[in-house]
Symmetry: C2
Subunit: 506 residues, 2 copies
């Protein structure tokens, strides 16, 4: 691709974090602006020592920069490994062909494998702006990708990252489609399955907009930022691991797309299927269990959407020679008691330790999922899996395995506690008639989760429970009273996040 190099500007780091949007900051009176009609929103290519990136121009109208200087957003800066005082080369760039395919999708056309490959390649090379990404996602949403296109997308995403190979015929994995706070079954399922003897190398995500991701919870116990070599060492020794997926670069395009989807609270079923499967196939899995929690405030909100996702997942997996089992679960309320890294870790440890006060819903769900995965083993009959899972949990093997995994990952830590707690009580008595996962997640974030590991909340009631007036509903945990107050001021205007309906007979 021939492009005209126009000029160089001297790099100065302003340190502006725009997430993944690559921005070039220049002055209006710098030579490229004046001469070439570069202006706000122009897309230009920049080069630094052999690395190249397409950026969006924003104009500095103050003395932050001189007319000979340029800056980059932190993402672009680290992508290019830029250095202060060095020259940045600035180029005109030709319109990306892939944007034509995005346009074509928006106009209702079907995309070919090559066209989807081009789009994903450009996204993986950070050539799409946030606006370009939004348009692509909008083109995928609402059933606009057919089965073939979802397969192409899975394939393209798979090829955009690295791919793991294990020396085992059966490599199992699990994934939850998400949206349910506290749903931390992974930390229970992995040790059970690994103790049983199946290989389960699990990569998890950190929270993006939620109060805790599985990787954040695991990090309460043990390091999770392992490279591929260390991951391999853990899995070879213990059959399983629970690490952060960010360091091993499987399907890197996914993170970029998710960051935009979350902003719009959009879930494209095609994008979801391609995203999950590409990550799991890249991780070397042969058998995958997918959990789709279903509920009005979960990620998947209708049975028709759930069934569509299930059908696509199963069909596309078969094309890749992978077995995928999809189960639909109750997504009407959080699982377990805690929301926030340390509080969820506490629930996990209670279940693994067979503590009588452990949340039963978390325990039962983890056993069910572990049982289904164990049945991927060719020697296990249908219905036997859950019994085996029970036995491994109750005999203490699961706890032992979990501690071993933690130790090999780098250490097994105690769960820390918050400095402050605050009880929220019921203002009237009645029946818990609705629990809003999304607003509870937001409340937990206001206490400081996931950045503050000990922050979050405990939910003391479940749907259909009867509560008395003044009975505690939620305990907030935070490291400062200020944070407790932030959360409380949000709770005040959203106090029906746990809805209590008075009973007429009273």
């Amino acid at each position: 691709m021939s492009e005209t190099c126009t000029t160089t500007l001297r790099l100065k780091n302003l340190g502006i974090n725009t997430y993944k949007d690559a921005i070039l900051y220049i002055r209006k009176d710098c030579n490229v602006c004046a001469a070439e009609g570069f202006e706000v929103q122009t897309r230009v290519r920049v080069n630094f020592k052999g690395r190249s990136l397409i950026t969006t121009v924003q104009i500095i109208e103050s003395d932050l920069l001189t007319y000979e200087e340029a800056s980059l957003s932190t993402y672009a800066w680290s992508y290019l490994q830029a250095q202060e005082g060095e020259d940045l080369f600035i180029f005109h760039h030709k319109q990306l062909a892939s944007l034509g395919f995005v346009r074509s999708k928006l106009y209702g056309h079907t995309l070919s494998q090559n066209e989807i490959n081009e789009i994903i390649k450009d996204i993986s090379k950070s050539r799409f702006s946030d606006i370009n990404l939004s348009m692509f996602l909008a083109g995928c949403v609402g059933g606009r990708l057919n089965g073939e296109e979802i397969f192409y997308l899975t394939n393209a995403m798979l090829q955009s990252g690295s791919r793991l190979h294990w020396g085992s015929q059966v490599v199992v994995d699990k994934h939850c489609v998400g949206g349910l706070p506290g749903n931390r079954t992974t930390l229970i399922v992995i040790p059970i399955v690994a103790a049983f003897g199946l290989m389960i190398p699990k990569t998890s995500s950190r929270a993006i907009t939620s109060p805790a991701g599985t990787a954040d919870v695991m990090e309460v116990f043990a390091p999770v930022e392992l490279d591929l070599k260390s991951m391999r060492r853990v899995v070879e020794k213990e059959n399983g691991c629970i690490i952060w997926g960010g360091t091993v670069s499987l399907s890197p395009v996914d993170d970029v797309l998710i960051s935009i989807e979350r902003i719009m609270d959009l879930d494209s079923e095609g994008q979801m299927v391609a995203s999950v499967l590409s990550k799991k196939i890249a991780a070397g899995s042969t058998n995958i269990l997918i959990d789709i929690p279903l509920g009005p405030t979960a990620k998947v909100r209708s049975i028709s959407m759930a069934n569509l996702v299930k059908a696509h997942m199963e069909a596309i997996s078969r094309k890749f020679g992978i077995e995928t089992k999809v189960i639909l679960s109750d997504g009407t309320q959080p699982i377990g008691q805690g929301i926030g890294p340390a509080l969820e870790a506490r629930d996990v440890l209670a279940v693994l330790s067979c503590d009588k006060n452990a949340p039963q819903d978390l325990r039962e769900k983890a056993l069910l999922l572990a049982g289904e995965i164990i049945e991927f083993s060719p020697t296990i009959q249908k219905g036997e899996g859950v019994k085996i899972a029970h036995h491994i949990l109750e005999s203490g093997q699961a706890l032992q395995k979990f501690q071993n995994i933690c130790l090999v990952q780098g250490g097994f830590s105690e769960i820390p506690k918050a400095h402050h707690t605050h009880e929220i009580t019921a203002v009237s008595s009645g029946i818990v008639s609705n629990i809003d996962n999304r607003r509870l997640a937001r409340l937990a974030k206001l206490t400081g989760a996931p950045h503050v590991k000990v922050a979050g909340l405990e939910i003391l009631v479940k749907l259909d429970h009867f509560v008395e007036r003044h009975q505690p509903l939620i305990i907030l945990h935070a490291n400062s009273l200020e944070q407790i107050n932030y959360a409380l001021s949000y709770y005040e205007i959203e106090s029906d996040m746990i809805k209590i309906t008075e009973m007429i007979s009273r």
Copy 2:
């Protein structure tokens, strides 16, 4: 809408121009970030002295700000009329209901008048981020708005701005759907129609991504930034005016949407119809002539798209009691010789002065359009309009009227000339078989247009012309040799923007 006020930060102006994207810049260690989980991409509401705006958080990771300070992008700064050193109030904000409607549209649902009103209201109050806007536009594109929805959208856009009323029963207007460089008929049509005696209060746009908008060309002759009162004075005295629409705030939402559409080179026919009609109806027009140039590098590229736009325009106009006539014209090449404000002004003046060397295509098209508009007059027979237009032009009345309009708008200036010109010649002889409007526009921008009024280019050939080797094709105009060279380096890699096909018989 109750929202929790969280904290205040002291304002510091960093002067970062992000076009219309409202950005709040804060430090990661400022109290709102740490305490409330505000992070990059979080949408928060800010208040300054009674004015309120929803902004997107970006994080400053350097010492540009202290942890007690905040900054705003230049758009947000001027919207709020912010002042350095004063306190900015920062609030949590509830998710906009209108984003739910955008989502619903993306999932294929039909929107009601109320839902579209909510979306347009939120856009007009700058509550949508660029990502939100992209999603909305993506939902409108590719025939996803039905006739009812386009009517609702027109209605909503109409109500978002001010609306003019004139003391005349017939108020005419013209609009060109655009995409054609040099197509500056407006400056010829308005004086002809005004001299005929019809009221034609014309508001025009400045260039957004093109090398010249009608307002930019008019500004070569006379001031165009007139307020409503001055506009009224011009129209009452001369029957017509040609001013920049930006100062009179008709359909303000439109500019915001167009800025995103241009980035993706997207044209939603529904959005286009609503945008044009809402502006014209807001301007008080009773009879509107719409010109749709049709060609592979024009804005409308297919006859089916053109007919769809035509049908919608006519049907929706009728619902508002307005008569709209749509004509399709040749959009396969630029009109006139000049591209760039001063060079287009020169073409216009040549036509108005009945100069023998005036571009005949511009003259003929302007006469045709003027004739069609004159026939909106109830006393004029079909076919008579163009004859009247001819007479008004040739008798010198049009030139006189144009000069009068300029004088009442604030003065009639001479057309300035560029310091440097450079001829581009044909590398081989043959037939001009293709002219690319888009790349010619880009080339003109590289010389400095529209910011440098005298910059731009002249095209010396038309489609199907025979050219000899070394015959001049283009003359570049610029104020510096550097700018000539920028344009030339672009021309070198895109030299088939004027395609010359050798003839086989030779």
